[in-house]
Symmetry: C3
Subunit: 496 residues, 3 copies
């Protein structure tokens, strides 16, 4: 593109200067506020009287790595389906997530754990109520007086720390919003979106989890509903009436659909880890993973059924398989840690898969025509509706909670009910209220974000250059080799 | 393909209706029979006196996730090598595995644990003999009377539960069979194949493990031999004399071979987890992973050596590297939990890699010409022969088992020998008999499956449309961008 | 390529015979020397009085699997960026690593643990000082006399065993060197390079860790600096003045860059596991993962900033994103287990990302023009300079170590300082000396390796055939399907 007119210097410098500023500011704030937490600091950890196996690391790190793979591989490649936007999809995912995880460490730290003037980071936020292995065994074998200090929770539950898992979760919400505006925003705009969204994500999460006592371990509300409606409202504000000019680039090609399936499959297989990454240890984590596993399986069958049913001549549509099959993970984000039952998981997943597929087929066009929301990846179908359904399912399952069904496990799933501070019905009402708060904050935030991104000096691709890597990247040819092939063959003949 | 004649409604509706029926029936059966097991249920788990670290989840979940990645990423992408069948390869893998894991939960549940009228599901099936951490330590430190209840096995060994790991293993066997008929069957046919195969897989596994007391932790017999011969016999029944019409589509293109290598590498790296996912905790799991690791390394060198040796002008063949290098994982499926020795692992892997490569080069053509078995992925070379070799290696290593070599570990590898109920020679004979049972059940099952799939009303691709995604999928163009490129370049010039 | 003249039989047989010889010799050496270690052997493990949860497997296996994925998926696909060398990049990575991990088991075994005439292999090399879980808890609850034998370290620290993790680490160093000579060497040459490099890697590591008492848990020196300069000096000796003839093949195409991003992302997400795989259990492993996580995030922002800053018209360059964003993992390879602080991690990562990007832009051309080093993958920018920076950062952080900052944790990070055998300044000096030893051994080794690979009878691609898969592989067409498409469409019309 040597012949194309250069962008002005101010536009060319937006991305590098914004990156440098954000990274610099983050580093300064880290220097002032962020410290290792109790389990990460050499001195604090070894000062306690506990074994290495007690370290939360060994309970959470495999789950964290799965979540990490979902955020960077899963979201990144899922969006590569666009024929000419693969570099941007995977590249901006990389950039946005790398910034969001730093920034959310700070935001969540300020909100959740700013007790001692410092933010203490580690792998996971909330120490479990019955933390160390051997606790119960020892408790019955040793007199209470002999119990070493480490067997009491390592930090009071009122001061949870920000964590790598939570930072990745927040990055996931930002990437969901990215899906709604994919192809229509420049990287500097996206960084500003993340700057705002991370703050609102943190506030919403704080209101739900800490103030309302809502349960949402896999983030049906805090991650999926919030990320989707933030992005959709933002996309509404950025509505492009002339987007038709780039429509020929909005589809996939054969290979780009295969790349996108890498994203789909990695999201699908690791979703049990996503939903269970922050649940209570033991049965809670086990149950959450199992429910998610079965829900995803059922949503996959539902998606294939509906895709073939509504497809021309019974043909399957890759867009449905790539996306709707994942709705089973979203829909149990709130309830999978609860006593959903294996049947409940199947039913929820099947419902989500079918609704999501129908959404892609019938609702996405309406969303653009009637509501002027251009939703590139269909996040409304994959995260929006399934997220809301998941929140409502959480209302239902929470409302049905009984001491009989949960036994002593009630403490770790619904601590407020276990302590008698709240009835199951009251918990259900709080869950429902949490959904409204989420929708409200996401919408207000998305609108603010849209206004921010419309600032005229921000570099944004023109209507005819959407979904096009060449705006942002040095792009090599697609088929340079073809021209070279005969030449090379001859060379081989004469010189090999 | 707007101009092509539509399929009849009955054919178009086969896939959606079958998906809906199978998912509906599965959900009803789940509602009636499936419950959380002891370690997954909030009430049952918290009622016991044990720590969260005792939960089997923490010993098995990382292995499970690796197995899960192998089934969906590994098998799915390995079969993407076909130039025009990538959507179907990865898509039908997704569909088949998602159904098989639900259905096998029920089948294995009915066979293995239908004691109380319910099937109890969790991560792993058989509680280990010495389950909880701290067991031994506490046993020596605390009087027996003080031992908390949790330190005895959580369920009697006679009532193993079905599990997520076992469900994924069964899905793996179905996908091996899929490899034999890849490109020549429609998705409704494949679902019916899975419906039958999962049942027979369950029966075969039950006969081998529970009735014959055979050891087969990594499934050389139960998974690889069974899946391969089931698929090969089925492919024999479905023999297409006119397949030549689609032969031009049976090869790979450059990029499809790279996609297939994603499958190969993920299978290869996670195979140690596959073979060790169900072995006894401690040294057993450690040893199984280590043996598999070295066996795979040796099979890789063997494959490269033989591929270059038999290749034209010393050139390597991607088909060999993608497949035969994995035979080292198959061949130690039975014996890797035993005291195979590191040398034994290398020798077995090298043998498998060389035999498998030679099979691809010389035996696959014979299999089609003489035996009328059209084996798309060469599962006979990757799973069939290496599976049988692995079973025989298991016979040998079991026959050599001594109390000296295993010490107290004999209990967890060969419990019947340890209890004196069986000699090593008798164990070896049982192992050999298990191989015959597997071959018999796989062959009978594959023949039945072939007859089932030949039902004339089932939608099957015509001979000239095999290995072609367009039969089943809406397929985007391959190179739409090329046509658009010059236009876009101009747009950039004038509007950017 | 039927028309091309055949290579002579001696050249065609080089690869197969070398593979067979190396695998045969390795197997014989395994038979004679290699045995299961204490935690892997059925008899030795079960003879001890400890629980299965004590087995190192459960602390290390998830990290090992991440490292394994990095070596085979990460390095393999990162190098697929070349348009016509994808088969070789991922295939030779597979071959080299499969050989290197066997050979390094032997080399490291001979160097580190040849005490009893046998090499004992397992998952991890050095038993941690406070090995079993429940150790501390029990120690306070039970009288010392009652402590079971297993609670003392399982092997004396003076006899560490070779391990699967260390074998993979060594394979990583070989693959770094491979990156420097990528496209310009045949597979037989590469196997000889690995044969030599593994020995020198083992010696260098032994000198640093065992003789000098250097700390280098993530291998800034032992892996990255060593691998990079070994490969660069080797590439210097193999300098091809006529490489211009293959220059048209040295770039990427659109899809090959997307494949390379698979490699980048898997390296990036699992790097915290890489650096922490061998660190002390508990806080040490936790802190290492956390530091690496933040360092990588900062290097990503630094890379995007600099890439856009130096790019034409503000465009990003995929080469930078694919590579320089990973420099944050390299630069904290030595210091991430230390009390680097979260801010230190961010600062180091940002520095590495920017320096690496500038290296790709400005230094790589100089390296070829002035120093006659043709560095295909730019390993100097990704592993060389960041490795040296990482070593120097280790000098700094080690020199600042105090008893206050580390508390009792000093024992596991700097045992010699904790025991009073060395001051922090002395440790820093030793660290610096370790860097010089590494640079010396890598340079001498690379020069020797270059001379070895120049042996005239070795098969090497001609200058006009570099970066070309067809020299080594049967390569299918790229676009065979296009020709078939119209035909198939018609078939569908008439026969479907």
């Amino acid at each position: 593109m040597a012949g194309s007119p250069s962008r002005s210097a101010s536009r060319r410098l937006q991305l590098p200067l914004l990156c440098l500023f954000l990274q610099g500011a983050t580093a300064v704030l880290f220097a002032v506020f962020v410290r290792y937490n109790h389990e990460t600091d050499a001195s604090l950890w070894h000062g306690g009287n506990h074994s290495n196996a007690d370290n939360e690391f060994y309970f959470r790190y495999p789950s964290f790595q799965d979540v990490h793979a979902m955020v960077f591989v899963g979201f990144g490649f899922l969006m590569v389906f666009l024929q000419r936007y693969g570099f941007s999809s995977v590249g901006f995912t990389f950039l946005l997530a790398a910034f969001a995880l730093q920034w959310s460490t700070l935001v969540q730290g300020f909100l959740h754990s700013f007790d001692s003037g410092h933010i203490h980071v580690g792998m996971e936020r909330t120490p479990p109520p019955l933390h160390p292995p051997c606790h119960a065994a020892l408790a019955s074998g040793l007199a209470e007086a002999q119990r070493p200090a480490s067997l009491t929770p390592l930090a009071p539950p009122s001061a949870p720390n920000p964590s790598m898992i939570n930072a990745d979760f927040c990055a996931g919400a930002v990437l969901i919003s990215f899906g709604a505006v994919l192809g229509k925003t420049g990287p500097a705009q996206l960084l500003l979106m993340a700057l705002l969204e991370v703050v609102l994500f943190g506030i919403n999460e704080f209101v739900l989890l800490n103030l309302l006592g809502v349960r949402d371990s896999g983030g049906s509300m805090t991650i999926h509903t919030f990320g989707a409606y933030f992005g959709l409202v933002l996309s509404r504000v950025l509505y492009r009436p002339q987007l038709e000019k780039s429509r020929h680039r909005q589809g996939s090609v054969y290979h780009s659909d295969l790349f996108a399936m890498i994203g789909t499959i990695f999201l699908w297989i690791f979703w049990p880890s996503f939903n269970s990454a922050l649940t209570a240890l033991g049965a809670g984590q086990h149950r959450t993973a199992l429910n998610t596993y079965y829900s995803l399986a059922a949503s996959t069958l539902g998606t294939f059924a509906l895709s073939a049913l509504v497809g021309e001549d019974g043909r399957l549509d890759m867009v449905h398989i790539q996306n709707a099959a994942l709705a089973g993970g979203v829909v149990v984000g709130t309830s999978s840690e609860m006593m959903l039952t294996p049947f409940g998981a199947l039913a929820a997943g099947f419902l989500a898969g079918t609704v999501s597929t129908l959404g892609y087929k019938f609702f996405t066009p309406i969303l653009e025509l009637k509501f002027k929301v251009q939703d590139t990846c269909g996040v409304h179908n994959l995260h929006g509706i399934p997220g809301v359904l998941g929140a409502l399912l959480g209302v239902l399952v929470a409302g049905l909670a009984t001491h009989e069904a949960y036994g002593d496990g009630l403490e770790s799933v619904f601590p407020l009910i276990a302590k008698g501070q709240r009835s199951a019905t009251s918990q259900a009402v709080h869950q429902l209220f949490g959904l409204f708060v989420t929708l409200l904050l996401a919408s207000v935030g998305g609108a603010l974000g849209g206004l921010l991104l419309k600032l005229p000096f921000l570099d944004s691709p023109p209507d005819s250059q959407c979904y096009e890597d060449q705006v942002h990247w040095e792009v090599p040819g697609e088929h340079e080799d073809k021209i070279q092939r005969p030449l090379r063959m001859e060379e081989a003949d004469t010189q090999a």
